[in-house]
């Protein structure tokens, strides 16, 4: 690899570290590479900025962001938490389990970790502390469980990965269900043990009538994930169509059924969602300019050659990539990291015979863990602010949960069949 490429990568790292917006860092380095190293007309970058956003597949990001915002603004989130609580709240550590389960429910509608931390964590941490749960434990569980937001589909990170890797989005979504369930079970078992050890008193088991009443109250909220996944996997909708239908359904439920949102709130929700979606999608545009430079210089292929010359085992490769992604996840958000790194890793996957969908899920989990990895994980700061604690306190609180998630990540790394089981069963993937 020549010095020129290294200079461009060093420039990218410098720009990213300088706190300039990520999409501009990608745009500037990509443009400098294209114009000064490849020697092409600078007008090409305008063409790339235009064409990169002229894609129908991106609609799914915009509409799932909108759907998540409608839920947060209305009362769907509150109803999901109530349901989770009535189902597992009576077990030892039940409220903590309910928090984990609620993150799973929320993840099945929204696609973002930060949205899950804010929506569920902001509500559950005070509730746990009020119910005499240890503060450090409460902060730990509700900082780390929101990783389910990006693992359980729909996941914005997976949507963007599929766009780069050309994997079938609906099949890629399926890879997240079993790992998400494993995380819910593992974190719940840990909570059960910890709370038993602490001698926490159990809540009274709800009667069948109480359970039924809550389920009835939450019916419309619970039907939303059924509509999304039932629609996609019955073949009724594509993922894009499911996102559109989910938005209409969420508006209908919040305005007409729950009456927790007024018609005049629609504008604010739509505008704030458009801005959030713009901040994500514009990184796609910046990454496309940088990607154009990578393609012109055939850099992914060159990196692949260097890596293959030095690593022969796919397992060693995966382990090294896991460590690298965990490290990168500490500093970079999941969207930027997915868009920057996927084109670089893709040529390596075929060399090592690693499935692209398996890798997509590992990448998502890795970078999701990065959200709660000290010292710079965003989730740490959000929950720290909720309880008015510093980063050292929150970092200690998340450690046991991070170890559980890293153990699950290793299990999934070396046992791809768990990840690919559902795509194989539903779509006959890889057969």
């Amino acid at each position: 690899m020549g010095n020129g490429y290294l200079m461009i990568f060093a420039l990218l790292l410098g720009c990213l570290a300088s706190t300039m917006p990520v999409f501009m860092a990608l745009f500037f380095t990509g443009t400098i590479g294209l114009v000064f190293m490849v020697g092409i007309d600078p007008q090409i970058v305008i063409e790339v900025l235009y064409r990169s956003m002229d894609k129908f597949a991106l609609v799914v990001v915009m509409f799932f962001v909108l759907c998540g915002n409608i839920m947060t603004k209305g009362s769907i989130v509150e109803k999901l938490i109530k349901t989770a609580n009535i189902l597992v709240g009576f077990l030892p550590g039940g409220l903590a389990m309910a928090g984990v389960l609620a993150c799973g429910f929320f993840g099945a509608i929204s696609g973002s970790t930060v949205a899950t931390v804010v929506a569920i964590g902001g509500f559950m941490i005070p509730a746990l502390i009020e119910n005499n749960y240890d503060e450090k434990f409460s902060v730990g569980v509700m900082t780390t469980a929101p990783i389910l937001g990006v693992i359980i589909p729909p996941s914005i990170a997976m949507i963007l990965y599929a766009m780069v890797s050309n994997d079938q989005l609906e099949a890629l979504f399926l890879t997240g269900f079993i790992p998400g369930l494993i995380i819910i079970i593992a974190m719940s078992i840990y909570s059960w043990f910890v709370c038993r050890k602490m001698g926490m008193t159990r809540k009274k088991r709800p009667t069948l009538a109480e359970t039924f009443a809550i389920l009835k109250e939450s019916f419309w909220a619970l039907f939303l994930p059924v509509l999304i996944f039932g629609g996609i996997y019955s073949g009724l909708f594509t993922a894009n169509e499911a996102a559109v239908v989910a938005c209409f359904y969420a508006f209908f439920v919040e305005i007409v059924i729950h009456k927790d949102m007024k018609v005049r709130d629609i504008k604010n929700v739509v505008v704030s969602s458009a801005i959030t979606s713009a901040t994500l999608l514009v990184i796609v545009a910046g990454a496309s300019v940088f990607g154009e430079y990578l393609t012109f210089e055939q850099i992914p292929g060159k990196i692949a050659t260097v890596v293959v010359d030095n690593i022969s085992s796919p397992w060693v490769f995966l382990l090294s990539v896991n460590l690298l992604l965990l490290f990168i996840g500490m500093f970079m958000d999941i969207i930027s990291a997915t868009l920057i790194l996927t084109p670089i890793f893709l040529p390596l996957l075929s060399k090592f015979g690693i499935d692209t969908m398996h890798f997509g899920l590992l990448m998502t989990i890795n970078l999701g863990i990065g959200y709660c990895t000290p010292p710079l994980g965003v989730s740490l700061y959000i929950t720290g602010a909720t309880v008015d604690r510093n980063i050292v306190y929150v970092s200690r609180a998340v450690m046991p949960f991070l170890l559980i998630q890293i153990a699950i990540l290793l299990l999934l790394t070396f046992w791809p069949d768990i990840v690919l089981l559902l795509p194989k069963l539903v779509y006959g993937y890889g057969q």
């Binding site: 706190t19 305008i46 900025l49 956003m53 009724l236 239908v245 739509v270 505008v271 458009a274 994500l280």
Partner: protein
Amino acid sequence: MLKAVFRKIDRVFLFLEEWALFAAVMVALFTAMANVILRKATNDYSLYWSDEVVRKVIFFSTYIGCIAAIRSRALIRIDALPQMLPVLKKPLTLFSHIAVLVFSAVMVYLGGQMTLMMYSDEYALTATLRLPEWIFYAVLPLMGVMMFVRTLIMIYEDWYGVNDITGGQ
């Protein structure tokens, strides 16, 4: 005086951004939904132009949304360095603002050139709606101008330690 001008500009921009984004997203939402209903209800009929409308809305709302994101400081950035070394926060913020100004200028210059090129090409039309392509390319220089002005307002607020122009949003 300058503050009053900035405040006025901020309000006008805010009005334009909010209504443009709201209208664009609602058009995309209703068009996409109408297409889903038509396809399911009639089994063979769909709005042939809906795909293009949605794609153009994504393009438009992404770049216009970026201008609004400057105001709310919502553009995604990696702020690891100022968190580790708080002393660097101010110079890095200024550097970041300058980077946005440079980006805006590049958009005005290159985007403007491209728009004029498309304007002079009478065959540069969108595939289904047959709308002139230059209308969409013009979003980029427009974004450049608005982003430039917005960033000047943010620099003013940061420099004087005030947030009463944008209301600290």
